[in-house]
Symmetry: D3
Subunit: 249 residues, 6 copies
């Protein structure tokens, strides 16, 4: 039994609240246990310079934590004058993962920017950001698709993410902060609605891991992500039907 009473393959309670921001084209407040992230999606009718003239859109993400999202206060990156390596790594991951389920040609020369702001952190902030960001992005793209009457709905599949890890001999699903800091192996997995991998990032800094452990962790992740996608579908309501549908109703 885990510290918070969960079974080894049991996720924390997850809650998705949509439309929490008055201005953003898409917005979701995601809570995974005590981890809380505000995800907003902004649509811009232009692409970054390196994408110009290709007839394709772009999806990108930014990630940040409020200074007191954690046990002890962290200095703001804005005061330090630069982003930490951790932040850059995470926002690159989120953007890459989201793009894997977007048909950029169908989007046209437009950008969707996702902001993931962690209000409170208790482990799994990057995976929760991806899971929430997918919903915010899909809402924003839906508005865009309606407004411009896009012939093909640009979101091609669901996308969610969870962390898994090894503590002692146990393989665990959805680590909280306390578990994360004890884990000898830590893996973040991003998967699609069709059960394919988009990202597998496993690290055994303190303990290299075997092929068997890897397989066990991937199975746990698959279970968790498939449950999450069910909740995403509910949160999206009527929009859900369009994902991967190809042509737009």
């Amino acid at each position: 039994m885990r510290l918070d009473g969960r079974a080894q393959d049991e996720r924390r309670a997850m809650k998705l609240t949509v439309n929490t921001n008055k201005y953003a084209e898409g917005s979701v407040f995601i809570e995974v246990g005590d981890t809380k992230v505000i995800c907003t999606a902004t649509v811009e009718e232009r692409v970054p310079p390196f994408m110009k003239g290709q007839g394709k859109g772009w999806v990108t993400a930014e990630y940040s934590m409020l200074p007191r999202a954690t046990h002890t206060r962290n200095q703001r990156e804005a005061s330090r004058g630069k982003l930490t390596g951790r932040t850059m790594e995470i926002q690159r991951l989120i953007g890459r993962a989201l793009r894997s389920v977007v048909n950029l040609e169908a989007l046209g020369e437009r950008s969707v920017l996702i902001d993931c702001d962690v209000i409170q952190a208790d482990g799994g902030t990057r995976t929760s950001s991806i899971t929430g960001a997918f919903v915010a992005m899909t809402m924003a793209i839906h508005k865009l698709a309606v407004k411009h009457n896009l012939p093909v709905f640009p979101v091609t599949d669901y996308l969610a993410s969870v962390s898994v890890g090894v503590i002692g001999e146990q393989l665990l699903l959805d680590l909280n902060y306390e578990e994360d800091s004890k884990a000898k192996v830590d893996m973040n997995v991003v998967m699609t609605g069709q059960g394919k991998f988009v990202e597998v990032q496993g690290t055994g800094e303190e303990n290299p891991f075997s092929r068997d452990e890897l397989n066990g962790l991937l199975a746990l992740a698959e279970k968790g992500i498939s449950e999450m996608i069910t909740q995403q579908r509910e949160a999206l309501g009527a929009i859900a039907g369009q994902i991967g549908g190809g042509t737009q109703a």
Copy 2:
């Protein structure tokens, strides 16, 4: 009648929710109409270098807006690599205002850092930050006072803030964003529970203002702030009795 139906001397609905953060020593979620700010207070058992060895404490504040707190998305200051002048001006104002009602000697060589993070902006973000920050700070200082059994409660008075302005011939209390962008005179006022001024910052960039207008605006601010302080007292509950009490029960 104003655009949102308020009377000229009527504030927007204000809501203070306390203890919204699991880790911070004090935390408040303040909503003033559609303006929403997370205020957290962090206690540190040390003071900045320039205050060392004086036997006094320090109170300081940081302010930030999420990128999509506004109609159009703003670039993160962390990505730009530096704070804007507006942010620096606001966080200096918040810190200065809070210190005016704290007995720094009674605090001892400790710091209270207030973070004001604007989740959604609809005018009055700096004044709402001050009003919320006061409550978060007082909660944190209360914990500190209990823990260290401080002989004197360091918070000497209430503190709240509101904006007032002139549109056409009308003097208005608590401007929302739309009003703010039309106002020819804009004034932020910070006052104490005893009705004294801590900050008066009036600007007539497009229309210099007369002594009469100034007087009318100050009267409006006084009314609004005194109502706000009543709500702060309720939010603080039992702690409220200690403010300005001198010796601690």
Copy 3:
């Protein structure tokens, strides 16, 4: 009696020397007691990106202190790699104040940049900067008006600024550095030639102040500023007649 023998409502000696810079379109060396500021005005035949295409001009200001303008040497902001919050606050204030007396439409799509460089500081550097900057700006705009034969002279009124404060029970006009560091209330006031307020910034960080004190301080400021404007008029000589005149001779 004050430390330097002045009466409570007496300004320090102020001297305005014009045309001190061989290249600038307008230049003034302002001395207020031992506070000395070089103000230069530069005209550019373009506006910043955010003002383009509106048929209006722009006025902006930058402020800096030489490292040894003060008792102890300050690190250069250029070496630190960023502006302090204080500098940003002051240059925003100067720009805002100057714009309040300029008809930006009459200016056309041109910019006037004012540089205020403090050579020596003895209190009141921001207020002296405003008072000097107004003269340098008016000289530069005059040249511009002649050169382009502008139908309306863009400067609509005089503008000057002074600090006032409270030490003990005394209300004082034009604080020097020593007084400023003892003042419990400190207020900077910017007014026009017609006696209207452009900026009122009062701070009682260590001592909140009453409505009566506020009124007394504003009266002092009014007296000081009106005297300063008389000196500005003399310094401007023939140009003075055009201010607020509407149509250009």
Copy 4:
């Protein structure tokens, strides 16, 4: 057959030249096809502040590319004034991977800094950096072990890294730049001499991948890394015997 004539499971020629730097405690010039990296290891008799007083050492890495290591010249990060996200991600990866095979307690309160400077890039710069860095680090730690007569040799196992990917239906080992830019799945794998995983980073940004593909890629990586480790053993010569030996001869 691949563009350069290699079989699908065939690595490029790899060459390790040791002691290429006159000053560094360990140095290796690694060539993997046309990818060329200078790896130097520097020993410092202190640890970073966050590690102080724990009786443990630290290993960290920095990574950079010369501006003309690539087809078109890249701007120097030193001129841009900050590291890119890609660089930060890579240097965090290298450091983490190296630490997984170092007994930090056995190292004592000392740091080993590895610099990986890419002289020429043709795909696989991060994996080649890890493979070369391991050798440079081991040489430096050997000098340290001899000098301080450490009772336990701090390097616990071999460590090498290779990239694998999917082009069309083919799974390929050790992608060069041209292959890398066509791959729909790209995976970097770091493994130990005992065949355990330290890092698995697979990305299918343009094409999510199946469990079967993942398994095939891991098998390829395993083959390539085991061959690389044989070459590392040769390059290390007499030092090789100490790795993982526990007690030092």
Copy 5:
């Protein structure tokens, strides 16, 4: 005959005004034609970290131009967030030159910081800065020597600097801005009172120069610098006697 009527070996009028700053330990306002520089010297009772514990002092310099010191306004380095290469090169030159005539052991573990701020630029700002800085530094060191009763006066010789150059076939002394921009060879020379070279920096970017031209330019510089040193001696008055004297009266 030159544009301003000077002979080929004639300097511009130079004026040294001392004690222009109320706070600095030494201060000089130097005017060389229309080039005007404020030089202030600040004494600190400590040395930079890299000089600690050597029983020696340090002399360093900073150089800056006001934005409107030149025909067209330059952006402030503080706004750009970094120093230009030109500024860094100049301040390294000034510091190096001054240190060549200071006995750092005699100074003790103290620093003298020289600030050279160019108020108006018309060619020769770096050479004028050196000439003025020497006087400000000597005044500050004199105060220090008296205060601490130093047994040896730390300034060992005079130091001044001038620019020379080639236009067409003519070798010219002390170029103004217009001449400087036409010169095919440009040389800055720093010499001591005893006629030795401290710095010789000659550049023929557009026209490499011969040994004969070099010799002719050095002769001109020698003449100019020796005249300047006569003026420095007058400006220093009674202090002048101590320079190079070894023991202090």
Copy 6:
């Protein structure tokens, strides 16, 4: 006799290896004793903004040292977030020197960027960079001249550089690091194939130097540079014939 057995007027062994980089338009690996520098030249079909529309080209250089090029490791400038003054001074010098032997009109509106990356440093890194950069630049310009069939070959003369200095009473050619740190006078000289000076930078920070010493040092430099140019001619092979030829074969 010198520490490494060289005569007073004897250079260290110099080796130029061309075409060391697979991508660059010109590349040279220069070794001068234990000083090793990679020089690459990149051609761009555009000029920097300040050169646009003048029908002329531009040549510029960047310089950097790998962190462990020296006895103790230096922090990367990319991590510090800015270039040191030393680096900026050196890269300005290299660019200026190279431009002195390029006919910018003949180059057309194109840029040549030279990167000098010091792999190992043992004194004379800036002079070796210039000597190597000249060869890399000439190779790149040759390719350009062929490709665009330029009527005039843009390189007008050879260019090389060496350091000379004074230790005790001895004048020495081509100082290594150990000698450099003992030298009381240090001079870097850049000369053309026709024996003219492009740069003469002599510094006697710890010991001002006489006209006689200057003359002796220049003679040594002349000897060394003329030998170096012979080696450059060999390294350039067939291209060598075009330098200074005016019209292209």
